[in-house]
């Protein structure tokens, strides 16, 4: 829950998080400075302030609580494909990690290290069941309980009863009986405990004996990753919004990295003041893990379409995708690495807009200027089929190479005035050029697409103008207006 503290000075100050205002609220999170000063989790605010007078108590925002819980789940997913989550805890099986880590201690230490990278302070227990794992997290930072019930019982024997998290009635009964440790509870006869304390008592007795029948029920991971935050003031400009957004993106991408995934697209939801939301969809040409690229794309979108009012909260929903590894070809020339190319494409999209980066594609249309731009291909292409190269030959003693004549399009076609002479177009006048027409070739009439509702009928001419250029012009037969399509070059 302290993940929401993004300022460096906040992380070094004695700060605690509480679920609700007031002196009796329990502390849910502490910075390292507050912990070292003597405050502990589970204390009330009043108790903590008595020990640490300079303690600053912040209210835990629900968005931060939810984000921390989601990050905890991603922590589990980074070690095992199946997890079970409950409030403030995540369970996962470590039996398959023997080939990756030399010992259970190493697994526990790696878990804490990964959690630190995600901004979480966790306690890790490795046990044979969920119930024993819960007991272990109350006993210490890293607890390894043996696999057999007898050994686990011996390990838990000396611990106080508080590790079992007894309900109030059972706790009172234990106090009345003079039972103070887990070992003393385990030594009681089981049927008698069940008779006097009921099912609850039987459950605690079983735990004290190192036994637990609670099954592991894995849940599928969430399809999307969500991070959010709320603020107590109104954000009116882009800079502070970008600062908060960067923190959210960093946390979300760290969680993606736990799952070995990348961001394929994100949805930004801004909570506006006094009420309402603004939603922005950010599309990516290819999955990426670079926060700077995502931030640049979001900034670009917000600069184009800023929210109507101030912002009091935001959340991002990231759609994860796998980065596919590609096999390069020994016989193809070196090309850009797919991941590097994806990052470059994302940067280009942030610079010029995603709709201006891609591969051109011919559209099946009778209009010759129509084309679309498709998302760029990131993976290396298959080997091309060798085509016949244009033959070089000598003509009149000169070296001559032949190639296809290209044309440069004006997008959109430019309006132009055409003066008509006895043999056809005689002169052009417009923004692009004003010139006499030396040679006019045409007309070539084309019409079609009347079946699709937006039919056209045009008359094309190729004209050699006195400015030296070879223009392609057409007249729309329905409106009689002339347009400059482009020029051969």
């Amino acid at each position: 829950m302290l993940r929401g503290l993004t300022e460096p000075h906040e992380r070094e100050a004695p700060i605690a998080l509480a679920a609700e205002p007031g002196g009796r609220a329990l502390l849910l999170g502490l910075t390292r400075t507050a912990r070292l000063a003597g405050a502990c989790l589970g204390m009330t605010v009043t108790q903590a302030r008595a020990i640490v007078p300079l303690l600053r108590v912040m209210r835990a925002r629900q968005a931060d609580v939810d984000a921390a819980q989601a990050a905890l789940q991603d922590l589990g997913l980074s070690f095992a494909p199946r997890i079970e989550a409950e409030s403030g805890r995540v369970f996962f099986q470590v039996g398959d990690l023997g080939s990756l880590y030399p010992s259970e201690q190493a697994v526990a230490q790696a878990t804490r290290t990964q959690a630190t990278q995600l901004g979480l302070a966790v306690r890790v227990t490795i046990a044979s069941s969920k119930g024993l794992a819960r007991v272990g997290t109350r006993a210490g930072e890293i607890v390894i309980l043996p696999g057999t019930a007898e050994a686990a019982k011996a390990r838990l024997a000396g611990l106080p009863l508080t590790v079992l998290d007894l309900d109030e009635e059972t706790h009172r009964t234990m106090r009345d009986w003079g039972i103070k440790t887990v070992g003393e509870l385990a030594s009681l006869p089981g049927p008698e405990v069940t008779l006097r304390l009921g099912a609850n008592g039987a459950h605690f007795h079983q735990l004290a004996n190192g036994m637990d029948a609670e099954p592991f029920l894995p849940q599928p991971p969430a399809d999307a990753i969500e991070e959010g935050t709320e603020v107590d003031y109104t954000i009116e400009s882009l800079e502070p919004l970008s600062f908060l957004l960067r923190g959210l993106l960093d946390r979300a991408l760290q969680r993606l990295a736990c799952r070995s995934l990348a961001c394929a697209g994100l949805t930004l939801r801004l909570s506006l003041t006094p009420r309402g939301f603004a939603v922005r969809e950010i599309a990516l040409p290819s999955p990426t893990r670079e926060a700077s690229i995502l931030l640049q794309l979001v900034r670009l979108d917000l600069e184009r379409r800023p929210p109507d009012t101030g912002v009091v909260g935001m959340s991002i929903l990231i759609r994860p995708a796998r980065i596919r590894s590609t096999q390069l070809d020994l016989f193809r020339p070196n090309g850009p690495a797919p991941e590097q190319l994806a990052a470059t494409i994302a940067r280009l999209s942030a610079l010029v807009g995603p709709e201006h980066v891609g591969t051109p594609c011919v559209v099946d249309s009778w209009k010759e200027e129509v084309m679309v731009i498709e998302p760029p291909m990131v993976e290396p292409a298959t080997r091309p089929v060798p085509r016949e190269r244009p033959r070089e030959n000598r003509r009149d003693g000169h070296d001559e190479a032949k190639a296809t004549l290209g044309i440069r399009r004006f997008r959109p076609p430019r309006d132009v005035e055409v003066l008509i002479g006895p043999t056809g177009p005689a002169a052009l006048r417009g923004r692009e050029t004003t010139a006499r027409i030396l040679v006019a070739a045409g007309p070539y009439r084309m019409s079609g697409e009347w079946w699709a509702g937006g039919g056209f009928c045009r008359e094309y001419w190729d004209v050699h103008a006195s400015d030296g250029a070879l223009y392609r012009i057409h007249q729309d037969r329905e409106t009689s207006r002339w347009y400059l399509d482009g020029y051969y070059d």
């Binding site: 070809d329 020339p333 011919v362 010759e368 084309m371 190639a403 290209g406 440069r408 070539y444 070059d489």
Partner: protein, 212 residues
């Protein structure tokens, strides 16, 4: 004429007025690179690319990375592409634009190209890179052919006479010839002299009048 194509790791430019053939040279260069399986990108300052013509020029469109940038974004986009590495050719098509750029722009671009081993080809209406380009080619229009595209094989079947056929298929541009002069390059001016480029329409009439 160039003595081995556009040099890698260097800046090259091809310039000329409208209809001198620089776009056709650009398409041919991109097609030649992409046909070999290498990567190429085109930064288009005027969004002037014609996909049909590019495909007919031998450019496999699915392998071409096309960036439509405004005048102020073209150099930055080109730098990003060249810096990424792995591209055999990055072409910058400025068209008829005349951007006012400091010389340091070309120095920086040349240095990045040198580091990555990428050939950068600049196509513009005027020489822009000056002495910072390793190769500079000047194109000038020499001749334009207007041919008549006749479809002889359909004539007997449809009973169309020559006059009607001429009206139905009027002449259009069939070819453009350009003279080439090498301002700067690996070969000397004498070695590179007497060169011309002949650009043909993809669909042209042969001597027999059949479609080809």
């Amino acid at each position: 004429m160039l003595g081995g194509g556009w040099p890698r790791g260097a800046l090259s430019e091809v310039y000329g007025p409208r209809s001198s053939g620089r776009t056709s040279v650009l398409y041919a260069s991109l097609g030649a690179v992409l046909q070999k399986g290498a990567a190429a990108a085109l930064v288009d300052a005027e969004s002037a690319l014609d996909a049909r013509r590019a495909e007919q020029a031998g450019i496999p469109l699915r392998q071409l990375l096309w960036v439509c940038a405004s005048q102020s974004q073209t150099l930055k986009s080109t730098e990003l592409l060249v810096s990424a590495g792995g591209f055999a050719l990055v072409a910058l098509d400025l068209g008829d634009l005349l951007p006012h750029l400091p010389p340091t722009t070309w120095i920086r671009l040349r240095q990045v190209a040198q580091r990555q081993g990428t050939a950068v080809l600049l196509a513009a209406g005027f020489p822009l890179a000056g002495s910072f380009s390793a190769t500079s080619v000047h194109l000038q229009q020499k001749n334009v052919d207007f041919g008549r595209q006749a479809c002889a094989r359909f004539r007997p079947r449809l009973g169309i006479d020559d006059h009607t056929l001429a009206r139905a298929h009027p002449p259009l541009v069939t070819a453009l010839a350009s003279s080439v002069s090498l301002d700067r390059g690996r070969r000397s001016a004498e070695q590179a002299a007497h060169c011309s480029l002949f650009f043909q329409e993809p669909l042209r009439a042969s001597a027999s009048g059949e479609w080809t």
